[in-house]
Amino acid sequence: MIYRPRPSPLHAASAGVAILWCVTLLTAALVSANPIWLATLVIVVCGAGVLAGVSAQMLACLRFALPLAVVICLINALVTRDGLTVIWRFGDLPVLGQTDVTLQASVYGAVLGLRAVVIVLVAALYSVAVDPDDVLGLFRRFSFRSALSAAIATRMVPVLLSDSHRLADAQRCRPGAPAGRVQLLRATTAGVVDRALDVAATLEVRGYALAHQKPHPHQDFTDRRPTRRLRWRLSVGPARARATRQDLGFLASAVAVLVTTLLGRFLDATSFNAYPRLVLPGVAITVGACAVLAVVSLFPFLDRRGVGS
C-alpha cells in the first residue's frame, strides 16, 4: 500500500487536485446514507483504482474492509433498539439486556458498513495514487508549521505497513503462543508514533518550518510576472507550475461530484431513512443520480494524453 509512480491520469494530477477529488468522494459518502448511492461509490472507487492501475492494492484493501463492514453491521444490529420489524429475538443477554434484532437496524448496520468500506477504499486510493512528496510540499505551501503533523499525514500508511510487516515477522519468531491482535495493534501504533517522531526530527533539521519565510539570496527571480504569481500552483516544483490537463479534469470532476451530491440531497434523490421503517426515495431518481455520480467521477480517467502508455 505504498505510492509508486504509474502512468495513470490520477497519478499525473497534482497532489492538491488529487486530494480534493478524494475528499469530494468522501463527502459524497458522508452526506448520504442511501445504500444504492453508497454501493455506487464503492464501485466508483474500485473502478478508479482499476483505471489508475492499482487494482491489486484495492483488492487487498477490500479484503480488509469487507470483514470490517460485517462487524459494523453485526454490532449495529445487536445494540440498536430502534426499528419496528423484529427478525430475531435473542431474549435477555448478559450486558446487552433484552436483545431483539430488527430489520431496520440490520439494514442500517449494512449501510454504515458500506460507508466504512468507501472511506477505507478512498484512503487506500489516496495512499497508492497521490505522491507523498507532493503532499509534503503542499503542506509546506500552506505553512503547516508542525513537522510532526506533516510526517504523520504523509508517511503514516507506508510506515504503518512496513512496521507491521516487521512486527509480524518478529512475532513469528517467538516460541509459544503468539501475542494477541490488540497487543500487536498497540505495539504497531506506538512504533508508528516513534518513527513519525524520527521523520519529524529530520524534517525540522532540514528547515521544514522555514517554508514561506524570507527568500534566500540564491533564489532566482527569472519570472516575476504578476500573471505567473496569480497562476495556480497546486503542487511543488517548477515542472508542476502550470495546471495540467489532468489537474483540470479532476478538478472539474471534483466540482461535479460535489454538485451531484448536493443536488441529490436537495432533490431527495439520495435520501434514506432506516427508522422506524425503511424509507427509500424512488429507485429511478436514485439510480439516475448514481449514474451521474459514476460518470462525473470517472470521466477524467478517459483522457490519458500525457500520462504515458
Partner: protein, 565 residues
C-alpha cells in the same frame, strides 16, 4: 572563529529523572573535526541535539545555560533557523530519506529555504557529484541500499553548504566499506571546504585517525577534551572500553597508543619492529620512551580453528544446512545464489558482507520466514531468529509479561530485576537481551533451539553492551549464526567467518583466514600488524585481536633480538 559555544548547559528530557547533559561547556572552532566518545547514555546524541536546536525546541524538557551556534542563540532560534548553518545526520538512514527520489531529497532543504529552481538544481547536481551519488539521483529511494541511503542523507545534510555538520553514529548501519568511505569523505570535505564536523561514534577505531579533537562524555559531563592520541592515553586508565584495538595492542607492548593503522605501523617501525617487503623496508629507529606494558583486555581469545574444522569435517548431523539455496525474485534481482553451507552443532559462525549482500535474507531462510525458490534448508530442531530491531519483539507492558511471568528465571540475562519495567523504557542493550530471551524461549516451550541466528545484534551498541551480549551467547550451547558488520566482533566471537557478496558465499574459513589479510573486512590489529616479520608467521596471520597482536609483537621483538645477537 568560534562556531559552537556552550556554557553551563544542563538539559533534561521531559519526564526524565536525571539530566542528560550536566553543566557542559565547550567551544568548537570552524574547520575542526571533532569526535564525541562515550558509552551509551553518556550524552553524545543529546549534545548534538542541543547544537542543532532539537533540544529543547523539538523534544521539550528543561534547558539551562547558554548555547550559541554560528552566532545564533539556540534558545531563540529553533532547528529550522539553525539548519542554514548546521546540517544533521542521524543514525537510521531509513527515517532520514523521506522523499521518493534522492533528487527530491537533496532539493528539499533548499526549497524550504526559498531557493529558486535554478539554484536548487545546480546545488543538487554539484552535491551529487561531490558525493558520487549522481547515478542515484532519479532512482526510487526505496530501492537504495543502506549505504546508498546514508550517502543520500549526507547529501541532503550538505547540500545547503552548512558551516557545521553533526553526525550521530552515521556508520552504525553501514558495512565496513561504506563506513570507511563515509569517514574518508567527511575528512576530505573537512580539508577541502573547511567544513566543521562533529561526529558521535561507538566504533572509534573507524574515525579517530580522521579527527583533530576528541570530546569524551561520561554520564552527561565532559570527561576529556583533547587530541586523539592524548585521548587514547587517557582512556587506557580512565575509560578502557573506549580504547581502540590498535591502541590496546600498542599499549600492550609498551608503546604510546596512537589512532589509526598508519600511525600504529609507524609507531611499531619507530620501535624497531620489522615489516616485510609488502609493507616497505623496516626502519629501525630510536626506540620510543619506555613505558610499562599494559595488559590487553582479556576478552580476547585465540581462534578456535581446530574445533571449527573438526565440527565441519566430522560426520555429525549439521545443526543447520543450506543445500544449493537460491532465492530469485519474480521481477527482481537474485537475493541468494546457490548457497551451500552447513553449520555444526555448537559452532559459532559470523556472516559478513556489504549492505545488500544477502545476510539478512539467509538468516530469514534459516528461520523459515522465507522459502528458497530453489534448493532447501535443513535444520536439526528449532531456529531462533533475532531480527535487527529488538523492539519488534516487545508487545507487552512489562518485561515479566514479555517472558510470560517467568522473568525471575532469566537471572543470567540480567532481566529478573527489570521484571516490572516497561520494555520501551529499557536501554538498547537491555532490550536486546530481552528479545534474545524471548526468541530462545523457556524450557517449558520445549527443547532449546538448535541454532540462534542474530541479525546485526550489536549495531548502535557500545562495547560494554556488546561484551555482555557476547558472554550471553557464549553460554549458549547450540550453534550461533551471527550477521555483523563489525570485524572486531566476528574475530572475537566466531570460530568461522562466511563472507557473502551479491547473494553468494565468496569466502568461508576461520576468522584468521578470512579477516587476516583484508583491508575492509579485517580488524584494526590485523591491519596494523600486516606484513610484520615474526618468528611464527602462522600465529602472526591469526592475530586479529589486541591480545593476539601483543603476543605476535613480542615474538617479533624476540626475532629482532635474535638477529641482533
Amino acid at each position: 572563529m568560534t562556531l559552537v559555544e556552550l556554557a553551563g548547559v544542563t538539559y533534561t528530557y521531559p519526564g526524565a529523572q536525571e539530566a542528560a547533559l550536566k553543566d557542559v561547556g565547550v567551544t568548537i572552532l570552524a574547520g575542526e573535526m571533532v569526535v564525541l566518545a562515550g558509552l551509551s547514555g553518556s550524552g553524545k546524541s543529546t549534545l548534538l541535539r542541543v547544537i542543532n536546536g532539537l533540544a529543547p525546541h523539538f523534544h521539550g524538557g528543561s534547558f539551562a545555560g547558554e548555547a550559541h551556534v554560528a552566532g545564533l542563540d539556540t534558545r531563540a532560534n529553533g532547528p529550522a533557523e539553525l539548519a542554514a548553518h548546521v546540517g544533521t545526520l542521524f543514525q537510521d538512514p531509513e527515517t532520514e530519506v523521506i522523499l521518493g527520489t534522492p533528487r527530491a531529497e537533496l532539493a528539499f532543504p533548499l526549497e524550504n529555504r526559498g531557493w529558486g529552481s535554478g539554484a536548487v538544481a545546480r546545488a543538487v547536481e554539484e552535491t551529487a557529484l561531490a558525493l558520487g551519488i549522481e547515478a542515484l539521483l532519479d532512482r526510487r529511494s526505496d530501492t537504495l541500499s543502506g549505504g546508498e541511503l546514508q550517502r543520500v542523507a549526507l547529501g541532503a545534510t550538505l547540500v545547503g553548504r552548512p558551516a557545521l555538520v553533526c553526525l550521530d553514529e552515521p556508520t552504525s548501519q553501514l558495512d565496513p566499506v561504506a563506513g570507511d568511505e563515509l569517514i574518508g569523505l567527511l575528512r576530505r570535505l573537512n580539508e577541502d571546504t573547511d567544513l566543521t564536523v562533529i561526529l558521535a561514534e561507538h566504533r572509534l577505531e573507524r574515525c579517530l585517525m580522521a579527527a583533530d579533537r576528541v570530546i569524551g562524555l561520561d554520564r552527561g559531563r565532559i570527561s576529556f577534551d583533547g587530541p586523539p592520541a592524548e585521548f587514547l592515553e587517557w582512556a587506557l586508565t580512565h575509560a578502557p572500553r573506549l580504547v581502540t584495538p590498535g591502541a590496546q595492542m600498542l599499549a600492550g607492548v609498551g608503546l604510546d597508543p596512537v589512532a589509526g593503522v598508519k600511525a600504529g605501523r609507524a609507531s611499531l617501525r619507530a620501535a624497531g619492529y620489522r615489516f616485510g617487503s609488502k609493507s616497505g623496508a623496516s626502519e629501525p629507529a630510536d626506540a620510543p620512551r619506555a613505558r610499562e606494558p599494559t595488559e590487553a583486555p582479556s576478552t580476547a581469545q585465540a581462534p578456535r580453528t581446530a574445533r571449527s574444522r573438526r565440527s565441519r569435517d566430522s560426520g555429525d548431523a549439521p545443526a543447520l544446512r543450506f543445500v544449493n539455496v537460491w532465492h530469485e525474485l519474480k521481477a527482481g534481482p537474485v537475493l541468494l545464489r546457490n548457497v551451500d553451507l552447513q553449520i555444526a552443532p555448537g559452532e559459532r559462525v559470523a556472516l559478513m558482507g556489504r549492505n545488500g549482500a544477502g545476510k539478512s535474507t539467509l538468516l530469514r531462510h534459516a528461520a523459515g520466514l522465507m522459502d528458497p525458490t530453489r534448493g532447501k534448508v535443513q535444520v536439526a530442531g528449532r531456529v531462533a531468529l533475532l531480527l535487527q530491531n529488538p523492539g519488534d519483539y516487545l508487545v507487552h507492558d512489562t518485561v515479566d509479561a514479555e517472558l510470560r511471568g517467568r522473568a525471575a528465571s532469566y537471572e543470567h540475562f540480567g532481566l529478573a530485576q527489570l521484571a516490572k519495567r516497561h520494555p520501551r523504557d529499557l536501554s538498547g542493550g537491555e532490550r536486546q537481551r530481552l528479545a534474545l530471551a524471548i526468541v530462545l524461549g523457556h524450557e517449558d516451550d520445549g527443547p532449546p533451539p538448535a541454532v540462534i541466528c542474530l541479525d546485526e545484534p550489536t549495531r548502535g551498541m557500545d562495547r560494554a553492551a556488546r561484551d555482555e551480549l557476547c558472554v550471553l551467547l557464549r553460554s549458549y550451547e547450540g550453534a550461533v549464526l551471527l550477521a555483523t558488520h563489525d570485524p572486531e566482533l566476528a574475530a572475537e566471537f566466531a570460530q568461522r567467518v562466511v563472507l557473502l557478496a551479491e547473494g553468494a558465499v565468496i569466502a568461508d574459513g576461520t576468522p584468521a583466514a578470512v579477516l587476516g589479510g583484508g583491508i575492509y573486512f579485517s580488524t584494526e590489529t590485523a591491519r596494523i600488524r600486516a606484513g610484520l616479520d615474526a618468528l611464527d608467521h602462522l600465529a602472526a596471520n591469526a592475530a586479529l585481536l589486541p591480545a593476539q597482536g601483543v603476543a605476535v609483537l613480542k615474538d617479533a621483538r624476540a626475532a629482532i633480538r635474535q638477529v641482533g645477537t
